[in-house]
């Protein structure tokens, strides 16, 4: 069977690209070793939170300040705006809101206000910009959320308007499992009467003007428990992202995969893209290995969304050599000299932080002389060179923006004259 596009990777970048392509009529296959960072990362879309040491209030206004070679350099602001609106429209079940114009400031599980451009409605209520009173609620026995520290840190955070924050610890009904992960907690909200319990536990302990922050474990299946809490408590309730696994991230993954399935996209997990058949500067087929052997999928276009070092898209060996693992693409942002030495202080600028593949404006990986390596290969997400996303708070934003832009790059008729002929 032949596909218009094979997408390598099922993280936010791959899912975005695949959904956009299928929506525009393409026949798309996603091949992925496993799920991506959606299951680990907060489900916010962080476009740009910091430019150097400066907190960013408006990503759109600050993007021009990024250095040359940053992935956003290939995504014009109006395209970014379109991509974010498109993303909100396709995740309607989760109620994403926001845009590139201004950042929300959402509390982290350490009590640090963190800038995000988009948040699902279950998290958006934590926006600290308007000030006010907050209560953070922890669950005894759930080790991944520490409300006293959150409240104490927030009380000292630099914010536009003053806030008050306090902590509350509640003891959920006992369960046979003593060591609870976020996933197990979320399952209890799906299946047991935990929402009911929480409403009763909070009713008389929260002031009328307090907003209620809870760990992001309010149900895996949907955000229905969150909706019910807001309705019954008549107060703003919001989820605060905490250690992996990420429950809102899993909801996001489910929402996107549901959209992909109904768009006819095929998703194959547990397989590894290992290379390509090349002909006349184009990828003819992507080679994919599973437990039984290697299979070649003929393609018109390819999106490489295999992530960075965190997901195995990039690899550094013990001799100091860095490699892109699927197509052995040329890399940019590698330190000089043959050996990588990391900076001795953790928060200093680290070599390899910005390493990845450089692209042209159609998001096609380029070689040292800025020519596309393969005419029909596009890249998106964390595999791209030029960003330090964990410092900039730009990881998920880059994935959505470049996933969308890579799809557009494929859809531009001029970029794919051969594909028309093949079809």
């Amino acid at each position: 069977m032949s596909y218009d596009t094979v997408v390598v990777g099922a993280g936010l970048a791959g899912l975005t690209a695949a959904l956009r392509l299928s929506e525009r009529g393409q026949h798309v296959l996603i091949v992925a070793r496993g799920v991506g960072a959606t299951h680990l990362a907060p489900a916010t879309v962080d476009v740009l939170g910091y430019l150097g040491d400066t907190q960013v209030a408006s990503p759109a206004a600050s993007l021009p300040g990024l250095s040359n070679g940053h992935p956003y350099g290939h995504v014009p602001v109006d395209q970014l705006t379109t991509a974010l609106a498109w993303f909100c429209a396709h995740t309607a079940a989760l109620g994403y809101a926001g845009g590139p114009g201004e950042n929300l400031l959402l509390p982290t599980a350490l009590g640090v206000p963190k800038p995000s451009a988009l948040a699902p409605r279950s998290m958006a209520g934590g926006d600290l910009r308007a000030g006010g009173r907050f209560v953070f609620v922890g669950f005894k026995g759930f080790k991944d959320f520490h409300p006293t520290l959150i409240a104490a840190n927030l009380a000292r955070a630099r914010l536009p308007l003053s806030i008050e924050a306090r902590a509350l610890e509640l003891e959920p009904p006992p369960t046979r499992r003593g060591d609870l992960s976020g996933r197990v907690m979320a399952g209890r909200f799906d299946n047991e009467q935990l929402t009911d319990w929480l409403v009763h536990a909070l009713e008389h302990r929260v002031e009328p003007d307090e907003r209620i922050g809870v760990p992001a474990v309010l149900g895996l299946r949907s955000d229905a428990p969150w909706q019910e809490l807001e309705k019954r408590l008549q107060r703003k309730v919001f989820e605060v992202a905490t250690l992996p696994p990420s429950v809102p991230g899993i909801r996001l993954f489910q929402a996107l995969s549901a959209a992909l399935r109904s768009g006819g996209v095929r998703m194959v997990f547990g397989v590894t893209a290992v290379g390509a058949r090349i002909n006349a500067g184009r990828i003819e087929a992507v080679e994919v290995a599973n437990a039984t052997g290697t299979h070649a999928y003929p393609v018109t276009s390819v999106v490489l969304a295999s992530g960075g070092f965190a997901s195995g898209g990039l690899e550094l060996d013990s001799f100091g050599t860095t490699r892109e693992t699927v197509f052995d693409l040329p890399l940019s942002g590698l330190p000089e000299g043959h050996r990588v030495r990391f900076a001795p202080r953790y928060f200093d600028e680290q070599p390899l932080a910005t390493a990845g593949v450089a692209t042209d404006d159609l998001l096609r990986p380029v070689d040292g002389s800025s020519r596309p390596v393969y005419e029909n290969l596009h890249a998106a997400g964390a595999i791209l060179a030029g960003a330090t996303p964990w410092k900039e708070k730009s990881g998920t934003g880059i994935s959505v923006a470049t996933g969308y832009a890579a799809a557009e790059g494929i859809l531009v008729p001029a970029a794919a004259p051969v594909s028309e002929a093949v079809r």
Binding site: L40, K114, A152, S318, F342
Partner: protein, 523 residues
């Protein structure tokens, strides 16, 4: 254990011990068991010097059987004693000496002879049998020998000795640095000490001061205008994920760099190197030493370079130099040095015990306290060869599976704060209370918190939250210890970052800087 500073402005004891490594706590325990009032001061945390950074081998003596027979004899004798008295600190892994294709198989004959002459039990076994026991070891080895090497947990050993010393009346004072030695004419009568946590300074008077400052012993001796030449020999080790071997595997050749790979709890450690450093506090890890260890590891276990390297660290050997002037007692061997400064420089009340190995720490302590007795009114018998540490009374050797065994009766009974090392919430909370510490790094040394594959990616946020929630630190203190921990951890992580461990490190970057945004926490 109470580790608060003494609020008194001066203290008195028969014996003041300087240094909280294996030697120092060994001396303090020995002195306390003999009934002397004893105080120990350590500038940092206990075992934060060489002892907590050593390789982890309870030597059988096999390594020294050819080159240094007296050291070999000492090792096998002490090995037998520690298996009984410090059983809970010893994992009986057994040791294997192998001749790889890079080693002369004939050396095996010398090795066997040396072992025989020094009383180190050694037995040659067929290569096939060795490979059956250690399937990852290079299949091209030509000879293999079994010896009673074992793995030794330095933190348990040091804390066990310290607690035992306290049970016998000693005061153990971590984070107390000796600034000056107090002299009365040509006699050392005590020390001026600064509490490194509070900044408070106080004085300790003592009849005998024992310098057990390891590679820093020269610095302490200087304070009494005595000379002790210890050369600081830096050695590098790398911990690898998983137990690639289950026994202590040694190359059968003259001792050299990178020739031992031994299991340590859930990991294994390759070491070591030996590079002279002018200052024992300056231990920069060099890339060439890392490559050397990885290459030597590859010879012992093919595929070593693809395995996941977790952490690298360096320790400094105290190598005692001027043997000419030490020949005053039977206690001087090539492996350690006991110096009585009254006969060397005419300074009374002052002894130095340095050099040696952790394996022979008890013997060193015995020698030092024997010498101290001479200045404290006559001999008293040493009891450390017979009295076990608490936790080791039944002589049960440590088993790798013990934490799992403790948890298993009640599956999932409570929160596990550190999944890698199976540390429960109550265990963490008890330790915080007992130690009265607010430093995640102190807790790490006691519990091995954050020492597994994820290097603290998950447990450190939890532990900081628990410290704060329990009222042990304020918010600024919790943030600071979290940031300090990340820096401290990075020191051991960044030199060996590659392969899957870089992947792990990137995940940790995302947890701390992405999810939590620790960089912008108010401190």
């Amino acid at each position: 254990m109470a580790t608060q500073s003494p609020s008194l402005s001066s203290l008195e004891a028969d014996v003041l011990v300087i240094g909280g490594g294996s030697t120092g706590v060994g001396v303090a325990r020995d002195a306390a068991l003999r009934g002397f009032s004893t105080i120990l001061v350590e500038r940092s945390d206990l075992a934060d010097g060489t002892t907590g950074r050593f390789h982890g081998l309870l030597h059988s003596g096999g390594r020294y059987a050819v080159k240094d027979p007296s050291a070999a004899r000492e090792c096998i004798a002490e090995n037998r004693i520690l298996r009984l008295t410090a059983a809970d600190c010893v994992e009986d892994t057994g040791g294997l000496f192998v001749s790889t294709p890079w080693d002369d198989p004939e050396y095996g004959d010398q090795f066997l002879q040396g072992c025989k002459a020094t009383g180190v039990p050694a037995e040659e076994i067929p290569v096939a049998e060795a490979l059956r026991r250690e399937p990852r070891v290079n299949p091209d080895i030509r000879r293999a020998f079994l010896v009673p090497d074992a793995a030794l947990d330095p933190w348990k050993l040091v804390w066990g000795c310290a607690r035992s010393a306290e049970e016998h009346g000693a005061r153990i004072l971590p984070y107390c640095r000796v600034l000056y030695l107090e002299m009365d004419g040509d006699r050392v009568v005590g020390a001026d000490v600064r509490n490194e946590r509070s900044g408070e300074e106080f004085r300790i008077h003592a009849t005998v001061v024992i310098n057990a400052a390891g590679a820093w012993a020269g610095q302490i001796a200087d304070l009494a205008r005595c000379t002790v030449n210890v050369r600081a020999g830096m050695g590098l080790m790398i911990a690898m994920n998983h137990r690639l071997v289950h026994m202590c595997v040694n190359r059968c050749k003259r001792p050299a760099d990178g020739d031992i790979l031994l299991p340590l709890r859930t990991a294994c450690v390759i070491g070591t190197t030996d590079v002279f450093v002018p200052d024992p506090d300056q231990t920069e890890i060099r890339q060439e030493d890392i490559d050397l260890l990885l290459d030597e590891g590859e010879k012992l276990v093919p595929g070593f370079r693809q395995a996941r390297a977790l952490h690298a660290w360096a320790g400094v050997r105290p190598l005692f130099e001027d043997t000419a002037k030490v020949a005053e007692t039977r206690d001087v061997t090539r492996s350690h040095a006991l110096l009585d400064h009254s006969s060397r420089e005419g300074v009374a009340g002052f002894l130095t015990i340095t050099g040696g190995k952790t394996t022979t720490f008890r013997l060193m302590a015995e020698a030092a306290v024997d010498a101290a007795c001479r200045q404290l009114g006559g001999p008293r018998p040493c009891r450390t060869a017979d009295v076990p540490l608490s936790g080791s009374e039944n002589h049960a050797l440590y088993q790798i599976s013990h934490r799992l065994a403790e948890r298993e009766p009640v599956p999932q009974a409570e929160e596990i704060i550190c999944e890698c090392e199976l540390i429960t919430r109550s265990r963490l909370e008890d330790t915080i209370k007992q130690r009265d510490t607010t430093s995640l790094d102190d807790i790490r040394r006691l519990l091995r918190l954050a020492m597994g594959p994820c290097q603290g990616g998950f447990c450190i946020y939890r532990a900081a939250g628990i410290l704060h929630q329990g009222g042990h630190v304020d918010q600024a203190g919790a943030n600071q210890t979290l940031l300090d921990f990340l820096e401290e951890r990075w020191k051991g992580v960044h030199p060996i970052l590659h392969g899957d461990q870089l992947r792990q490190a990137r995940l940790d970057d995302w947890i701390f800087q992405g999810i939590l945004d620790v960089e912008h926490v108010p401190v």
